[in-house]
Symmetry: C2
Subunit: 248 residues, 2 copies
């Protein structure tokens, strides 16, 4: 009898062409399908909760798959990790209802965008942060971010090529902070869902605010403009990390 | 007229065969000599303060070189970074006395050893931490570390192949802590100097203590044994980072 298994997945997106399976490209979804199919001897197709772009990282991506294997649900993480490359790890596995679909349930998603804010990039952080040279005003960035909290039409913050049916989304919380004594600035944003490139455009816009090119209250005008050209630049993929989901 | 420039250097050691120049291997020293020589049009040989092993990282390595170039001393960082690969960065440059030799002055050196302590390794930290599965008792590790503080003969903590004239060294401070809410355990050690593999053997021994294979007070017996086989394993290079020097 078939059961549905939910995986929590972490990956270093540096060497991947994003989540979604594609011909002639190495993707997270493609590697998971191949690895799990080989290990279980079944034809496995995972269903991911989100499709991250090329170069984006994850600490808590989620996917489900159906299997007839008798392995206890919490042991799939150990089994599948044996076959995965070391830049992808299953952190947790559990059984969910047979009709649980991770893109068709309401949930809260959290992303982090990390900026390395110093004269020169620290080499050991170059793959996981975006380098911004000039000192950022993180208080102004945080103030600007509060205009995005709530239910809004985020079409000004959607990248070209986005194919969403509606552009209304809810941001539950947005926080900008300096991380300890490091030179890292972390933007954490939790929402009902995000449009194509939305978090990267929010990050790029807040960087513009942090450098004084926009005032915090300009973000309100950007939202109201309903025009992508009103908002700031799209920040690079390497600074973005999918932190996790709250299905509760 | 020649002047002596001191560089503070950060690097991701993952793809390097260590600091010291070698034929048929890519080393930090080799890349610096080649890059600076080409940029300045002089035959430059840097003198490093320490020779880190293959795979070890640095946030504050130090080296000096002599040049007749008219570039203002604080601008060498900007100039040299133009020619370096992005896994090596000069964080700072300044002029020092013509006879300043970074291995012949008294100084304090600080290293960090980072452990990722969870069931599975987080992919984005795999190049910069050593994975330890079972939960570590960091209080016991810190207690054990205090037996190493002070002036001791550290021959029990010297790797095979070490060629030091004397094996007496002074450790000024050693601290083991859990880093925030992450699953990282950080061992920070400051000393007058370190024998071959000494920090990695200290880290391996403290991991053994953290897992209950040794008691904290066993470290005192290991020191007194003056025998490498009395101490613990040598922890892998990827967890080690040269934090910096205090020449004050």
């Amino acid at each position: 009898m078939s059961k549905r298994i939910m995986l929590t997945i972490a990956y270093d997106g540096t060497d991947y062409s994003g989540w979604q399976i594609q011909p002639n490209a190495v993707t997270i979804e493609g590697v998971l399908n191949k690895t799990i199919s080989e290990l279980l001897g079944e034809d496995i197709h995972v269903i991911g909760a989100s499709r991250t772009d090329a170069g984006v990282h994850a600490m808590g991506a989620v996917a489900v798959f159906d299997t007839v294997s008798p392995i206890p649900p919490d042991k799939y993480s150990f089994v599948i990790n044996q076959g995965l490359p070391d830049d992808i790890r299953i952190l947790n596995s559990l059984q969910v209802a047979d009709d649980f679909h991770p893109r068709k349930v309401n949930c809260k998603k959290t992303y982090e965008y990390r900026i390395y804010n110093d004269t020169f990039m620290l080499p050991t952080r170059r793959l996981y942060t975006h380098h911004v040279y000039g000192r950022l005003d993180t208080e102004a960035m945080n103030e600007a971010g509060q205009y995005l909290v709530g239910e809004h039409d985020f079409v000004s913050f959607m990248g070209a090529g986005g194919q969403a049916l509606t552009t209304e989304r809810t941001i539950y919380a947005l926080d900008v902070r300096n991380e300890g004594e490091s030179r890292e600035v972390v933007i954490t944003v939790t929402g009902s869902g995000f449009l194509y490139n939305m978090v990267r455009i929010i990050a790029g816009t807040l960087i513009d605010v942090g450098q004084g090119r926009f005032k915090p209250e300009d973000v309100k005008t950007m939202l109201e403009a309903r025009d992508r050209t009103a908002a700031g630049q799209t920040a690079p993929a390497c600074g973005l990390c999918l932190v996790g989901y709250d299905f509760g």
